[in-house]
Symmetry: C2
Subunit: 206 residues, 2 copies
DNA sequence: TACTATTGACTGATCAATCAAACAATCGAT
DNA sequence: ATCGATTGTTTGATTGATCAGTCAATAGTA
Protein backbone atom coordinates (compact mmCIF):
# COMPACT_ATOMS: atom_id res chain seq x y z
CA UNK A 1 0.00 0.00 0.00
CA UNK A 2 1.27 3.43 -0.91
CA UNK A 3 0.52 6.10 1.64
CA UNK A 4 -0.16 9.69 0.69
CA UNK A 5 3.26 10.54 1.98
CA UNK A 6 5.00 8.02 -0.25
CA UNK A 7 3.08 9.39 -3.22
CA UNK A 8 4.24 12.95 -2.60
CA UNK A 9 7.73 11.70 -2.05
CA UNK A 10 7.65 9.89 -5.38
CA UNK A 11 6.38 13.01 -7.11
CA UNK A 12 9.21 15.08 -5.70
CA UNK A 13 11.71 12.55 -6.87
CA UNK A 14 10.23 12.67 -10.34
CA UNK A 15 10.21 16.46 -10.23
CA UNK A 16 13.93 16.50 -9.48
CA UNK A 17 14.70 13.97 -12.23
CA UNK A 18 12.85 16.13 -14.75
CA UNK A 19 14.62 19.25 -13.60
CA UNK A 20 17.96 17.50 -13.87
CA UNK A 21 17.10 16.18 -17.33
CA UNK A 22 16.28 19.67 -18.53
CA UNK A 23 19.42 21.23 -17.13
CA UNK A 24 21.74 18.38 -18.11
CA UNK A 25 20.42 18.48 -21.69
CA UNK A 26 21.03 22.21 -21.90
CA UNK A 27 24.33 22.68 -20.12
CA UNK A 28 25.72 19.19 -19.97
CA UNK A 29 26.20 17.04 -16.90
CA UNK A 30 29.43 18.63 -15.73
CA UNK A 31 28.43 22.24 -16.13
CA UNK A 32 25.00 21.85 -14.61
CA UNK A 33 25.13 22.81 -10.94
CA UNK A 34 22.92 21.49 -8.19
CA UNK A 35 21.54 24.98 -7.85
CA UNK A 36 20.47 24.86 -11.51
CA UNK A 37 18.81 21.52 -10.96
CA UNK A 38 16.99 22.74 -7.86
CA UNK A 39 15.69 25.79 -9.70
CA UNK A 40 14.56 23.79 -12.74
CA UNK A 41 12.88 21.30 -10.43
CA UNK A 42 11.10 24.07 -8.54
CA UNK A 43 12.57 23.28 -5.15
CA UNK A 44 14.12 25.88 -2.90
CA UNK A 45 17.29 24.15 -1.83
CA UNK A 46 20.04 22.20 -3.59
CA UNK A 47 20.42 20.35 -0.33
CA UNK A 48 17.10 18.61 -0.87
CA UNK A 49 18.49 16.77 -3.87
CA UNK A 50 20.64 14.78 -1.45
CA UNK A 51 17.60 13.64 0.43
CA UNK A 52 16.45 11.81 -2.69
CA UNK A 53 19.70 11.00 -4.48
CA UNK A 54 23.11 9.89 -3.29
CA UNK A 55 25.06 12.31 -5.48
CA UNK A 56 25.07 14.01 -8.85
CA UNK A 57 25.94 10.82 -10.73
CA UNK A 58 22.96 9.12 -9.10
CA UNK A 59 20.74 11.68 -10.81
CA UNK A 60 22.18 10.59 -14.14
CA UNK A 61 21.47 6.97 -13.29
CA UNK A 62 17.88 7.87 -12.45
CA UNK A 63 17.51 9.65 -15.79
CA UNK A 64 18.71 6.55 -17.64
CA UNK A 65 16.27 4.34 -15.77
CA UNK A 66 13.37 6.69 -16.33
CA UNK A 67 13.97 7.92 -19.87
CA UNK A 68 16.44 5.51 -21.40
CA UNK A 69 15.28 5.22 -25.01
CA UNK A 70 13.04 2.26 -25.75
CA UNK A 71 12.46 1.12 -29.31
CA UNK A 72 9.08 -0.17 -30.39
CA UNK A 73 10.44 -2.40 -33.13
CA UNK A 74 12.57 -4.23 -30.62
CA UNK A 75 9.64 -5.04 -28.42
CA UNK A 76 8.33 -7.70 -30.83
CA UNK A 77 11.29 -8.97 -32.83
CA UNK A 78 9.53 -12.11 -34.11
CA UNK A 79 6.72 -10.03 -35.58
CA UNK A 80 9.22 -7.67 -37.19
CA UNK A 81 11.09 -10.55 -38.82
CA UNK A 82 7.88 -11.62 -40.59
CA UNK A 83 7.03 -8.25 -42.17
CA UNK A 84 7.43 -7.76 -45.94
CA UNK A 85 10.49 -5.78 -46.98
CA UNK A 86 9.24 -2.26 -47.62
CA UNK A 87 6.88 -2.34 -44.67
CA UNK A 88 9.58 -3.55 -42.32
CA UNK A 89 12.08 -0.91 -43.40
CA UNK A 90 9.54 1.90 -43.33
CA UNK A 91 8.32 0.91 -39.91
CA UNK A 92 11.87 0.60 -38.67
CA UNK A 93 12.77 4.04 -40.02
CA UNK A 94 9.71 5.76 -38.67
CA UNK A 95 10.00 4.31 -35.18
CA UNK A 96 13.65 5.26 -35.16
CA UNK A 97 12.88 8.89 -35.93
CA UNK A 98 9.78 8.95 -33.76
CA UNK A 99 11.95 8.09 -30.77
CA UNK A 100 12.81 11.72 -30.33
CA UNK A 101 9.26 12.99 -30.74
CA UNK A 102 8.97 12.75 -26.99
CA UNK A 103 11.10 15.72 -25.94
CA UNK A 104 12.11 14.00 -22.74
CA UNK A 105 13.48 11.00 -24.57
CA UNK A 106 15.16 13.37 -27.00
CA UNK A 107 16.72 15.23 -24.12
CA UNK A 108 17.87 12.01 -22.47
CA UNK A 109 19.53 10.86 -25.71
CA UNK A 110 21.33 14.19 -25.80
CA UNK A 111 22.52 13.80 -22.24
CA UNK A 112 23.62 10.21 -22.68
CA UNK A 113 25.42 10.82 -25.97
CA UNK A 114 27.25 13.81 -24.57
CA UNK A 115 28.32 11.71 -21.63
CA UNK A 116 29.44 8.89 -23.90
CA UNK A 117 31.66 11.38 -25.69
CA UNK A 118 33.78 11.83 -22.61
CA UNK A 119 33.67 8.30 -21.30
CA UNK A 120 34.56 5.32 -23.52
CA UNK A 121 33.45 2.87 -20.83
CA UNK A 122 30.02 4.45 -20.74
CA UNK A 123 29.92 4.73 -24.54
CA UNK A 124 30.41 1.00 -24.87
CA UNK A 125 27.66 0.10 -22.43
CA UNK A 126 25.28 2.61 -23.99
CA UNK A 127 25.96 1.34 -27.51
CA UNK A 128 25.40 -2.25 -26.48
CA UNK A 129 22.03 -1.74 -24.85
CA UNK A 130 20.89 0.73 -27.51
CA UNK A 131 21.97 1.10 -31.12
CA UNK A 132 24.02 -2.06 -31.52
CA UNK A 133 21.14 -4.31 -30.51
CA UNK A 134 18.75 -2.56 -32.85
CA UNK A 135 21.18 -2.68 -35.76
CA UNK A 136 21.82 -6.34 -35.13
CA UNK A 137 18.09 -7.00 -35.38
CA UNK A 138 18.03 -5.19 -38.72
CA UNK A 139 21.09 -7.10 -39.93
CA UNK A 140 19.38 -10.38 -39.01
CA UNK A 141 16.25 -9.34 -40.88
CA UNK A 142 18.25 -8.40 -43.97
CA UNK A 143 20.15 -11.70 -43.85
CA UNK A 144 16.81 -13.49 -43.76
CA UNK A 145 15.62 -11.55 -46.79
CA UNK A 146 18.82 -12.38 -48.62
CA UNK A 147 18.24 -16.06 -47.93
CA UNK A 148 14.74 -16.03 -49.40
CA UNK A 149 15.91 -14.17 -52.49
CA UNK A 150 14.17 -10.87 -51.84
CA UNK A 151 17.52 -9.11 -51.52
CA UNK A 152 20.84 -9.69 -53.23
CA UNK A 153 23.63 -11.26 -51.22
CA UNK A 154 25.92 -8.92 -49.30
CA UNK A 155 27.36 -8.51 -45.84
CA UNK A 156 24.18 -7.88 -43.85
CA UNK A 157 26.01 -5.81 -41.23
CA UNK A 158 27.27 -3.36 -43.83
CA UNK A 159 23.89 -3.29 -45.50
CA UNK A 160 22.24 -2.54 -42.16
CA UNK A 161 24.62 0.34 -41.64
CA UNK A 162 23.85 1.72 -45.07
CA UNK A 163 20.16 1.76 -44.25
CA UNK A 164 20.48 3.10 -40.71
CA UNK A 165 23.04 5.82 -41.51
CA UNK A 166 20.67 8.40 -42.92
CA UNK A 167 18.29 7.89 -40.00
CA UNK A 168 21.02 8.48 -37.45
CA UNK A 169 22.20 11.52 -39.36
CA UNK A 170 18.69 12.94 -39.39
CA UNK A 171 18.20 12.36 -35.69
CA UNK A 172 21.59 13.74 -34.85
CA UNK A 173 21.36 16.91 -36.89
CA UNK A 174 17.76 17.68 -36.15
CA UNK A 175 17.12 16.71 -32.59
CA UNK A 176 20.51 16.51 -31.04
CA UNK A 177 22.29 19.38 -32.78
CA UNK A 178 19.07 21.36 -33.34
CA UNK A 179 20.06 22.05 -36.94
CA UNK A 180 16.51 22.17 -38.22
CA UNK A 181 16.52 25.72 -39.59
CA UNK A 182 17.69 25.72 -43.16
CA UNK A 183 17.49 22.09 -44.11
CA UNK A 184 13.83 21.59 -43.57
CA UNK A 185 13.43 18.05 -44.73
CA UNK A 186 10.35 16.07 -43.83
CA UNK A 187 11.10 12.98 -41.74
CA UNK A 188 8.52 10.92 -43.64
CA UNK A 189 9.97 11.94 -47.00
CA UNK A 190 13.45 11.03 -45.84
CA UNK A 191 12.39 7.60 -44.65
CA UNK A 192 10.41 6.96 -47.85
CA UNK A 193 13.34 7.91 -50.07
CA UNK A 194 15.83 5.99 -47.98
CA UNK A 195 13.65 2.88 -48.19
CA UNK A 196 13.15 3.32 -51.94
CA UNK A 197 16.86 3.72 -52.65
CA UNK A 198 17.78 0.81 -50.41
CA UNK A 199 15.17 -1.58 -51.81
CA UNK A 200 16.07 -0.83 -55.43
CA UNK A 201 19.75 -0.77 -54.63
CA UNK A 202 19.62 -4.14 -52.92
CA UNK A 203 17.15 -5.88 -55.21
CA UNK A 204 18.54 -9.08 -56.76
CA UNK A 205 20.41 -8.64 -60.04
CA UNK A 206 18.66 -9.96 -63.08
CA UNK B 1 62.69 37.31 -41.00
CA UNK B 2 62.02 34.90 -38.17
CA UNK B 3 64.55 35.03 -35.38
CA UNK B 4 65.57 31.96 -33.42
CA UNK B 5 63.54 33.32 -30.55
CA UNK B 6 60.35 33.58 -32.58
CA UNK B 7 60.87 30.02 -33.77
CA UNK B 8 61.13 28.62 -30.27
CA UNK B 9 58.16 30.68 -29.24
CA UNK B 10 56.11 29.28 -32.10
CA UNK B 11 57.15 25.75 -31.16
CA UNK B 12 56.06 26.27 -27.57
CA UNK B 13 52.73 27.57 -28.75
CA UNK B 14 52.27 24.53 -30.94
CA UNK B 15 53.33 22.27 -28.09
CA UNK B 16 50.63 23.75 -25.88
CA UNK B 17 47.98 23.46 -28.59
CA UNK B 18 48.81 19.77 -29.04
CA UNK B 19 48.72 19.15 -25.31
CA UNK B 20 45.37 20.88 -25.08
CA UNK B 21 44.01 18.91 -28.03
CA UNK B 22 45.00 15.65 -26.39
CA UNK B 23 43.51 16.53 -23.03
CA UNK B 24 40.36 18.14 -24.43
CA UNK B 25 39.69 15.10 -26.61
CA UNK B 26 40.04 12.79 -23.64
CA UNK B 27 38.34 14.66 -20.84
CA UNK B 28 36.35 17.30 -22.66
CA UNK B 29 36.95 21.02 -22.66
CA UNK B 30 35.27 21.75 -19.34
CA UNK B 31 36.81 18.95 -17.34
CA UNK B 32 40.32 19.46 -18.64
CA UNK B 33 42.29 21.63 -16.24
CA UNK B 34 45.15 23.93 -17.11
CA UNK B 35 47.34 21.67 -15.05
CA UNK B 36 46.37 18.75 -17.29
CA UNK B 37 47.16 20.79 -20.37
CA UNK B 38 50.52 21.89 -18.98
CA UNK B 39 51.47 18.30 -18.19
CA UNK B 40 50.37 16.99 -21.58
CA UNK B 41 52.28 19.82 -23.25
CA UNK B 42 55.39 19.08 -21.23
CA UNK B 43 55.67 22.47 -19.59
CA UNK B 44 56.20 22.97 -15.91
CA UNK B 45 53.64 25.60 -15.10
CA UNK B 46 49.99 26.18 -15.97
CA UNK B 47 50.78 29.87 -15.71
CA UNK B 48 52.80 29.69 -18.90
CA UNK B 49 49.70 28.94 -20.90
CA UNK B 50 48.58 32.50 -20.25
CA UNK B 51 51.74 33.83 -21.79
CA UNK B 52 50.68 32.32 -25.11
CA UNK B 53 46.90 32.34 -24.88
CA UNK B 54 44.38 34.80 -23.49
CA UNK B 55 42.33 32.17 -21.66
CA UNK B 56 41.11 28.60 -21.87
CA UNK B 57 38.62 29.37 -24.63
CA UNK B 58 41.42 30.89 -26.68
CA UNK B 59 43.08 27.48 -26.65
CA UNK B 60 39.96 26.03 -28.21
CA UNK B 61 40.04 28.73 -30.89
CA UNK B 62 43.66 27.89 -31.63
CA UNK B 63 42.76 24.20 -31.99
CA UNK B 64 40.06 25.06 -34.51
CA UNK B 65 42.45 27.20 -36.54
CA UNK B 66 45.16 24.58 -36.49
CA UNK B 67 43.21 21.35 -36.87
CA UNK B 68 39.79 22.39 -38.10
CA UNK B 69 38.85 19.60 -40.53
CA UNK B 70 39.61 20.39 -44.14
CA UNK B 71 37.98 18.40 -46.93
CA UNK B 72 39.94 17.65 -50.08
CA UNK B 73 36.86 17.40 -52.27
CA UNK B 74 35.90 20.93 -51.34
CA UNK B 75 39.24 22.26 -52.49
CA UNK B 76 38.38 21.87 -56.19
CA UNK B 77 34.59 21.91 -56.50
CA UNK B 78 34.59 22.46 -60.30
CA UNK B 79 36.69 19.37 -60.81
CA UNK B 80 34.45 17.35 -58.55
CA UNK B 81 31.34 18.44 -60.45
CA UNK B 82 32.79 17.00 -63.67
CA UNK B 83 33.56 13.51 -62.37
CA UNK B 84 31.47 10.55 -63.51
CA UNK B 85 28.92 9.31 -60.99
CA UNK B 86 30.53 6.31 -59.34
CA UNK B 87 33.95 7.90 -59.25
CA UNK B 88 32.61 11.08 -57.69
CA UNK B 89 30.67 9.25 -55.00
CA UNK B 90 33.52 6.90 -54.19
CA UNK B 91 36.01 9.73 -53.98
CA UNK B 92 33.62 11.73 -51.84
CA UNK B 93 33.06 8.81 -49.48
CA UNK B 94 36.71 7.94 -49.14
CA UNK B 95 37.86 11.48 -48.46
CA UNK B 96 35.10 11.80 -45.90
CA UNK B 97 36.29 8.75 -44.00
CA UNK B 98 39.95 9.53 -44.51
CA UNK B 99 39.45 12.80 -42.67
CA UNK B 100 39.89 11.02 -39.39
CA UNK B 101 42.93 9.03 -40.44
CA UNK B 102 45.01 11.86 -39.04
CA UNK B 103 44.54 11.30 -35.29
CA UNK B 104 44.88 14.99 -34.58
CA UNK B 105 42.06 15.89 -36.95
CA UNK B 106 40.05 13.02 -35.46
CA UNK B 107 40.68 14.38 -32.00
CA UNK B 108 39.74 17.89 -33.04
CA UNK B 109 36.45 16.66 -34.52
CA UNK B 110 35.79 14.95 -31.20
CA UNK B 111 36.49 18.12 -29.27
CA UNK B 112 34.43 20.34 -31.56
CA UNK B 113 31.46 17.98 -31.69
CA UNK B 114 31.42 17.60 -27.94
CA UNK B 115 31.48 21.37 -27.60
CA UNK B 116 28.69 21.75 -30.15
CA UNK B 117 26.59 19.44 -28.01
CA UNK B 118 26.51 21.95 -25.21
CA UNK B 119 26.36 25.11 -27.25
CA UNK B 120 23.75 25.61 -30.00
CA UNK B 121 25.41 28.84 -31.11
CA UNK B 122 28.68 27.03 -31.65
CA UNK B 123 26.92 24.05 -33.24
CA UNK B 124 25.40 26.30 -35.87
CA UNK B 125 28.68 27.95 -36.79
CA UNK B 126 30.50 24.62 -36.88
CA UNK B 127 27.84 23.02 -39.06
CA UNK B 128 27.93 25.90 -41.53
CA UNK B 129 31.65 25.90 -42.11
CA UNK B 130 31.88 22.10 -42.09
CA UNK B 131 29.25 19.49 -42.91
CA UNK B 132 26.55 21.73 -44.38
CA UNK B 133 28.87 23.15 -47.02
CA UNK B 134 30.10 19.72 -48.00
CA UNK B 135 26.60 18.29 -48.18
CA UNK B 136 25.47 21.22 -50.26
CA UNK B 137 28.23 20.50 -52.73
CA UNK B 138 27.06 16.90 -52.97
CA UNK B 139 23.43 18.00 -53.36
CA UNK B 140 24.47 20.32 -56.22
CA UNK B 141 26.35 17.49 -57.88
CA UNK B 142 23.39 15.15 -57.60
CA UNK B 143 21.02 17.80 -59.00
CA UNK B 144 23.38 18.15 -61.94
CA UNK B 145 23.33 14.40 -62.52
CA UNK B 146 19.54 14.41 -62.34
CA UNK B 147 19.43 17.10 -65.01
CA UNK B 148 21.56 15.13 -67.44
CA UNK B 149 19.52 11.98 -66.89
CA UNK B 150 22.13 9.92 -65.05
CA UNK B 151 19.99 9.88 -61.91
CA UNK B 152 16.25 9.85 -61.44
CA UNK B 153 14.56 13.03 -60.28
CA UNK B 154 14.24 13.52 -56.52
CA UNK B 155 14.90 16.17 -53.90
CA UNK B 156 18.69 16.42 -54.15
CA UNK B 157 19.06 17.50 -50.53
CA UNK B 158 17.31 14.38 -49.27
CA UNK B 159 19.27 12.24 -51.70
CA UNK B 160 22.52 13.78 -50.47
CA UNK B 161 21.56 12.95 -46.91
CA UNK B 162 20.80 9.37 -47.86
CA UNK B 163 24.27 8.99 -49.31
CA UNK B 164 26.14 10.83 -46.56
CA UNK B 165 24.30 9.19 -43.65
CA UNK B 166 26.20 5.90 -43.60
CA UNK B 167 29.50 7.76 -43.85
CA UNK B 168 28.70 9.95 -40.87
CA UNK B 169 27.53 6.93 -38.91
CA UNK B 170 30.77 5.11 -39.67
CA UNK B 171 32.90 8.07 -38.65
CA UNK B 172 30.88 8.66 -35.54
CA UNK B 173 30.83 5.11 -34.26
CA UNK B 174 34.36 4.24 -35.19
CA UNK B 175 36.47 7.30 -34.58
CA UNK B 176 34.39 9.41 -32.29
CA UNK B 177 32.76 6.78 -30.12
CA UNK B 178 35.62 4.31 -30.54
CA UNK B 179 33.18 1.49 -31.19
CA UNK B 180 35.49 -0.43 -33.47
CA UNK B 181 35.63 -3.67 -31.49
CA UNK B 182 32.85 -5.99 -32.59
CA UNK B 183 31.67 -4.39 -35.77
CA UNK B 184 34.87 -4.61 -37.71
CA UNK B 185 33.73 -3.35 -41.06
CA UNK B 186 36.22 -2.21 -43.64
CA UNK B 187 35.86 1.46 -44.57
CA UNK B 188 36.51 0.73 -48.25
CA UNK B 189 33.87 -2.01 -48.28
CA UNK B 190 31.35 0.27 -46.65
CA UNK B 191 31.95 3.05 -49.16
CA UNK B 192 31.80 0.60 -52.08
CA UNK B 193 28.52 -0.89 -50.93
CA UNK B 194 27.03 2.48 -50.12
CA UNK B 195 27.93 3.75 -53.61
CA UNK B 196 26.55 0.61 -55.23
CA UNK B 197 23.24 0.77 -53.39
CA UNK B 198 22.87 4.48 -54.04
CA UNK B 199 23.71 4.32 -57.74
CA UNK B 200 21.32 1.41 -58.38
CA UNK B 201 18.71 2.90 -56.11
CA UNK B 202 18.82 6.26 -57.85
CA UNK B 203 19.25 5.05 -61.42
CA UNK B 204 16.51 6.27 -63.79
CA UNK B 205 13.40 4.08 -63.98
CA UNK B 206 12.94 2.21 -67.21
C1' DT C 1 5.17 12.58 20.14
C1' DA C 2 7.84 10.59 16.36
C1' DC C 3 8.97 10.71 11.88
C1' DT C 4 10.03 12.70 7.39
C1' DA C 5 10.73 16.67 4.45
C1' DT C 6 12.87 20.99 3.72
C1' DT C 7 15.82 24.76 4.30
C1' DG C 8 19.98 27.51 3.89
C1' DA C 9 24.26 28.25 5.96
C1' DC C 10 28.63 26.10 5.87
C1' DT C 11 32.95 23.45 4.48
C1' DG C 12 36.61 21.91 1.89
C1' DA C 13 38.22 21.17 -2.48
C1' DT C 14 39.12 22.60 -7.03
C1' DC C 15 40.53 25.55 -10.49
C1' DA C 16 40.95 29.65 -13.82
C1' DA C 17 43.49 33.44 -13.90
C1' DT C 18 47.02 36.84 -11.96
C1' DC C 19 51.41 38.39 -10.59
C1' DA C 20 55.92 39.32 -9.00
C1' DA C 21 60.11 37.55 -9.21
C1' DA C 22 63.69 34.58 -11.44
C1' DC C 23 65.79 33.36 -15.56
C1' DA C 24 67.54 33.44 -20.41
C1' DA C 25 68.40 35.25 -24.89
C1' DT C 26 69.51 39.22 -27.81
C1' DC C 27 71.83 43.29 -28.95
C1' DG C 28 74.16 47.70 -28.84
C1' DA C 29 77.92 50.12 -26.94
C1' DT C 30 82.38 49.98 -25.59
C1' DA D 1 85.12 39.87 -27.03
C1' DT D 2 82.75 41.76 -22.76
C1' DC D 3 79.30 44.12 -20.26
C1' DG D 4 74.99 45.81 -19.10
C1' DA D 5 70.46 46.90 -20.54
C1' DT D 6 66.40 45.32 -22.69
C1' DT D 7 63.23 42.23 -23.93
C1' DG D 8 60.97 37.96 -23.78
C1' DT D 9 60.17 33.49 -21.14
C1' DT D 10 59.20 30.61 -17.20
C1' DT D 11 58.05 29.63 -12.60
C1' DG D 12 55.25 28.74 -8.56
C1' DA D 13 52.73 31.02 -5.10
C1' DT D 14 48.46 33.33 -4.57
C1' DT D 15 43.72 34.97 -5.14
C1' DG D 16 38.97 34.79 -5.57
C1' DA D 17 35.23 32.36 -7.29
C1' DT D 18 32.57 28.29 -7.80
C1' DC D 19 30.45 24.27 -6.38
C1' DA D 20 29.48 19.32 -4.57
C1' DG D 21 28.22 17.66 -0.63
C1' DT D 22 27.16 18.07 4.72
C1' DC D 23 24.65 19.32 8.61
C1' DA D 24 22.01 21.27 12.22
C1' DA D 25 17.90 23.55 12.70
C1' DT D 26 13.00 24.10 11.34
C1' DA D 27 8.52 22.94 9.33
C1' DG D 28 5.10 19.74 8.36
C1' DT D 29 2.51 15.44 8.80
C1' DA D 30 0.67 11.10 10.80
Amino acid sequence: MTTRREQISEERRQQIIDGALKVFAEKGFVQATNKDVAEAAGINSPGLIYHYFADKADLLRAIIERYGPPMQVLARPEEFMQLPLEEALTQFGLSYLRLTDDPKIGASIRVLMAEAFHNPEFAKILAEVGPLRVWQLLADYLAHKMDDGTLRRADPRIAARCFVGPLVLEMLSRKIFSLAYDMSVDAGALVAMNVAIFVRGMSPER
